[in-house]
Symmetry: C2
Subunit: 297 residues, 2 copies
DNA sequence: GTTTGGTTCTGCATCGGTGCAGAATGAGCC
DNA sequence: GGCTCATTCTGCACCGATGCAGAACCAAAC
């Protein structure tokens, strides 16, 4: 069986008269179209085009097959249209809860795609560090990190891990150099967590590695840690999701990384919910495509 | 637009109930099917399957799209069937002339495919070193090497170059070692051409490189040269097409290679011939897929 | 309870398809 | 004649899709 995808190349080339124009329309290289057509011809066992310096012209066989290819295109488009329409039919509202970090970096970028896919579904984002109760309907979907507390009655879909790593301001790293191993950490000033963040494993680890009196700053908020690190006060453990896109921050690649699982959660009673399930599945796909964001470069 | 080819994965997985069976049916790896389906779902913006430990089961959306995918499959098969049928309609006879080497190594292997593609076309192969006159109808198609003698009224399609190189019997090469450069050739016994082969450029070149009295054997036929070389008499220039598949022969990779163009020729008055043109095009494709044969490993 | 067989899914190495740069060719225009 | 422009096609380098091996999981059979 030939490669169905190259029927598109056939159609575009037949319509536009040259592989170059077809390639531009398809968003690929001209060479690619030429080779795919050559392969298609070999698979079908005939020559679809006459090749000239001025372009590709349909051969007799090509003209005969063109209507069939067009019919196939119609079917393919019908399928795509139905898939899109399927989303359009959904109506309703959904509330999604997440930390501010996840909301800004993961949910917000996915909103346009969700809006396009499900135009009549209104999505409300609730950013909070509190664990809203999904069973009591305080939210429909939650993005949560950490594998410890599985609750009964909660269904989870795993997302790419959130990875914490050690970062430092560019200025600091250029002055003192990047720490090549954990033992070298004793030389560096570090920034530590406070309040709830005092318990975060990567921050605790860094503080323990650092020398006596190395802690130059403490903050109970992630933005606070981020800002202090960018200012060059010292090294700090940060989520790649937060630090990865910031200018002026450098990753200490030689040091430990701290992956922790992230989940998209909802209550099992909503498993068959006609709105929640498709949107949750779509959101999962969207986020998975951004895995390098979560996991750092 | 999604990738049309993955609709096949969708269909097979839906029918067989697991990506593993679908992959076996498609002749690819299970992982591949899984990833292509994941991509397809992302492109369509919905989830086609429920994934279980026991296999993939169609979701509601998947069930809705299945008939459309089946219709698309019908169209694709109709197109393939028409392409095959197109060849079946051709009836007639064609005679193809080539040297014995080309006939045995290029034409003969392509005959089954031609027979399958054009079952009612009877192909006759005329092996001769003489240049039959295409205009006078002594043959319909000729496979010819060398670019020099373009005749007016002859249309040519270029095939992969035929490459000559220096070969030696395994025994000889293991005893004396492989020549690392052209200067080293003076140490080796060589086999030279005779009769018409005395003019072949690679053979002439090798004879000139060799030292005084180095020619230990002469032959006026390619099989003769081949046999003498395999016997270990000396080094010899041979076409990769002839030497490439022979056991007991070693390529002297460090030395010069001699590419020469090969053409599939027919008379321009046959350009629109309903039998000749498709068969010639098909034959060209078949031979091009064997390029490594012509050009050596 | 244990084993067996089938399944999904992940990490890593590899290969083939893809893109890029450039040569060759021919049409059209000045 | 010479220039420009669009085209096809080739060689080379790279990246992403693919294959492979293995882990994890579950159902069914023993």
């Amino acid at each position: 069986m030939y490669d169905w995808a190259s029927i598109r190349d056939f159609l575009l080339t037949a319509r536009l008269g040259s592989t170059l124009k077809a390639a531009q329309a398809l968003g690929v290289n001209q060479t690619t179209v030429m080779r795919r057509l050559r392969q298609l011809e070999a698979d079908l066992g005939l020559s679809l085009f006459h090749r000239h310096q001025q372009g590709y012209r349909l051969s007799a066989e090509g003209q005969e097959l063109l209507p069939l290819a067009e019919e196939m295109e119609r079917q393919a488009e019908a399928l795509g249209a139905k898939a899109r329409e399927r989303g359009r039919q959904l109506k309703g509202t959904l509330s999604i809860t997440a930390t501010e970090l996840a909301a800004v970096r993961l949910l917000a970028p996915a909103l346009p795609a969700i809006r396009q896919q499900f135009p009549d579904v209104s999505v409300k984002i609730v950013t909070t560090d509190a664990r809203l109760d999904l069973q009591r309907g305080e939210a429909d979907i939650a993005i949560r990190a950490g594998g410890a507390n599985e609750q009964p009655g909660i269904v989870r879909q795993r997302l790419p891990d959130s990875v914490w790593a050690i970062y430092g301001g560019m200025a600091l790293l250029e002055t003192m150099g990047e720490p090549a191993e954990e033992a070298a950490l004793a030389r560096y000033p570090v920034i530590a967590g406070d309040g709830p963040l005092a318990l975060a494993e990567p921050l605790v680890w860094l503080e323990r590695q650092a020398g006596e009196g190395a802690v130059v700053h403490r903050s109970n908020s992630l933005p606070g840690l981020l800002a202090a690190t960018k200012a060059g006060l010292g090294l700090c453990a940060l989520p790649a999701l937060a630090a990865g896109m910031e200018d002026g921050l450098g990753l200490c690649g030689a040091l430990r990384r701290f992956p922790s699982p992230v989940w998209l959660c909802y209550h099992e009673t909503r498993k068959a919910d006609p709105v929640l399930r498709p949107v949750a599945a779509f959101l999962t796909q969207q986020i998975r495509q951004k895995r390098q964001l979560l996991e750092g470069s």
